[in-house]
Symmetry: C2
Subunit: 103 residues, 2 copies
């Protein structure tokens, strides 16, 4: 089952509205994509390391789909709407990465 | 509960021995750190996107500890040994990031 990682780089002076993200963006993603094969969604918030280091990513989301074909179909149907919502909570561009869960 | 992300960047000509990683490195991490508060370990392997794009990270591991103090203690006791094992499976340096699970 493919896991799509959506990783928002942490940059100086960036804007990231976590309240909007959690209360509006994530519900939109779930509403559109759960009926199309999204089976799990996890969110990690980057925090400073023990040495105070800034995290590379402000936030990372991991979306598990039943199959890559399901993801492609979900993206084709609602990707435009979901991606158009990103500027409502951040001015950074997320890094997307596709993965297989191996452990 | 803190989640430590260990992300191995994908670079041209890099070496990554996934067999060693899964059969020797991960068991070493579990053996040393489970008794010290490691409660979960997940591994994602980067795969090409639908457009054939190379993943940013060859592999990402996510280690959940009961608390940051437990992680600090675990790192103090066995970090040197575990980090010294990395050159046995790759010539890349992983990016470390600390996180809170928020969804």
């Amino acid at each position: 089952m493919p896991v799509i990682a959506v990783m928002y780089p942490s940059t100086e002076g960036m804007r990231f509205d976590e309240t909007y993200y959690m209360q509006s963006h994530i519900p939109l993603v779930l509403q559109r994509w759960q009926p199309l094969g999204l089976t799990d969604l996890q969110v990690l918030r980057g925090i400073p390391g023990p040495d105070g280091a800034t995290p590379t990513y402000t936030l990372m989301a991991f979306l598990t789909f039943g199959s890559m074909d399901q993801f492609k179909d979900a993206a084709a149907q609602h990707g435009t709407e979901i991606f158009a919502d990103i500027p409502n909570f951040t001015d950074t561009t997320p890094v997307l990465q596709f993965n297989d869960k191996v452990g």
